[in-house]
Amino acid sequence: MANKEQVFDKVKEIIVDQLGVDEEEVVPEASFIDDLGADSLDIVELIMALEEEFGLEIPDDEAEKIATVNDAVEYIRENA
């Protein structure tokens, strides 16, 4: 899956479901913690859901760098 729009839409869907936020809030620059109300456990769960959806294994040191929606989309585009 390389199409950025497709990846973004799928990531958005997962974020809306996992974090219970409105779709409009999920913009590329949104920070999971500062803008989308996630805590440390939410982020672990979110990363897991992304791994599951895109068939990835995201190492912990890479996962720690994923702070915004765009970080997640870019990581997936490069690694999925």
């Binding site: 996992q18 219970g20 456990l41 939410d42 769960e45 897991m48 294994e57």
Partner: protein, 412 residues
């Protein structure tokens, strides 16, 4: 040391027969059974295929979607009942440091445990949710209630199987009596209508198999009783020191005056045949309340509809109350609600307090022919209007752990 007097100023329930005080009471009085076929999972391979399910429970009336996803059903139900109790008491500005929680659950988040165990087996350890532990552990319901209302005082979870919420209320009573807190949200919750729990209780032959006649399956003290009917739900009460309640002009439902606890020290699941531990808990509750057995008008029995349990409780009541055992009323509201396990003690204390409010004893339904040695006034099938000033609510758990609470009409 003069103990603080403790009163009940708010109550909330989630039950198979109604999740408001009004609908619960209406269900108990009309005998409208909450028992039906199991719908929460496919029970066709199980000897027991009936349960008292809560069909209309919507956690999103109480918590947001994300929060709800991070709570097991037993926690969602606890939060709902606690919120309703809090609102019912019209509590607004409690002192956080003088307010706490005592919660009971027999089992905890078994639904979450089974879901995550399945994920562990099918997808591996890397897919087990980071919320698994904080959804599942038994004390999390009390923690969630404390966070919701910012209650920073005592916070305990009591696990005494089906006596759990009775134990929790007793503990909360003590916390206020001894000046540790002014306000306690006390109660319990349980939600284990799951294949694994059903399989376990079926293997013990503890549950009724009257699958073709669900509404008549829970029949405490009846000759034809054949086991309990599993239910789910929650009950919470706001307990408050009398001085705190008076200072804010709170409406007072009743005064909690006694708590007794004991162990059978006899068998993992069977009650002592003469109800030794049950009698001891009742006797201690009366002594704690400094109330003569002859003053008790109504006992809300543990009465689960098992052969041994109902008989042992009857024998214990006779031993403790003597002749008064034949004058007072005894009923088991489990005949209507099913057995709410760790939530039973709280929901049944609420039923007992509603009996004071309405001066009416709710019936034991499905009591067609009492079994031998069960010869008390079990209020068969129809409610009895009679003076109800002092009530006792019994809750006994597997493991032989027993709790009895005495409440009385509030007199200033």
């Amino acid at each position: 040391m003069q103990r603080e007097r403790v009163v009940v100023t708010g109550m909330g329930v989630v039950s198979p027969v109604g999740s408001t005080l009004e609908t619960l009471w209406a269900g108990l009085i009309s005998g409208q059974s909450g028992v039906g076929p199991v719908t929460r999972f496919d029970a066709s391979d199980f000897p027991t295929r009936i349960a008292a399910e809560v069909h209309d429970f919507d956690p999103l009336k109480y918590v947001e979607k994300k929060e709800a996803r991070h709570m097991d059903r037993f926690v969602q139900m606890a939060v709902a009942a606690a919120q309703d109790a809090y609102d019912d008491a019209e509590l607004h500005d409690v002192d956080p440091e003088r307010s706490g929680v005592a919660a009971g659950t027999g089992i905890g988040g078994m639904e979450t445990l089974t879901e995550q165990h399945e994920i562990l087996l099918t997808k591996g350890p890397g897919r087990v949710s980071p919320f698994f532990i904080p959804k599942m552990i038994a004390n999390i319901a009390g923690a969630q209630v404390a966070m919701r209302f910012n209650l920073q005082g005592p916070n305990v979870t009591l696990v005494t199987a089906c006596a759990s919420s009775g134990s929790a209320i007793g503990d909360a009573l003590r916390a206020i009596q001894y000046g540790e807190a002014d306000v306690m949200l006390a109660g319990g919750s349980e939600a284990v209508l799951l294949p694994i729990a059903f399989a376990g209780f079926c293997a013990m032959k503890a549950m009724s198999t009257r699958n073709d006649d669900p509404v008549h399956a829970s029949r405490p003290f009846d000759k034809e009783r054949d086991g309990f009917v599993m239910g789910e739900g929650a009950g919470f009460l706001v307990l408050e020191s009398l001085s705190h309640a008076k200072a804010r002009n709170a409406r007072i439902y009743a005064e909690l005056v006694g708590y007794g606890r004991s162990a059978d020290a006899f068998h993992v699941v069977e009650p002592h045949p003469e109800g030794r531990g049950a009698a001891q808990a009742m006797r201690r509750a009366l002594r704690d309340a400094d109330i003569d057995p002859n003053a008790v008008d109504y006992i809300n029995a543990h009465g689960t509809s098992t052969q041994k349990g109902d008989l042992a409780e009857t024998l214990a009541i006779k031993e403790v109350f003597g002749e008064q055992a034949y004058r007072l009323a005894v009923s088991s509201t489990k005949s209507v609600t099913g057995h709410l396990l760790g939530a039973a003690g709280a929901v049944e204390l609420i039923a007992s307090i509603l009996a004071i409010k309405h001066q009416t004893v709710p019936p034991t339904v499905n009591l067609m022919e009492p079994s031998d040695d069960c010869d008390l006034n079990y209020v068969p099938n129809t409610p009895q209007q009679r003076p109800v000033h002092v009530v006792m609510s019994n809750a006994f758990g597997f493991g032989g752990q027993n709790a009895a609470i005495v409440a009385r009409e509030y007199v200033s």
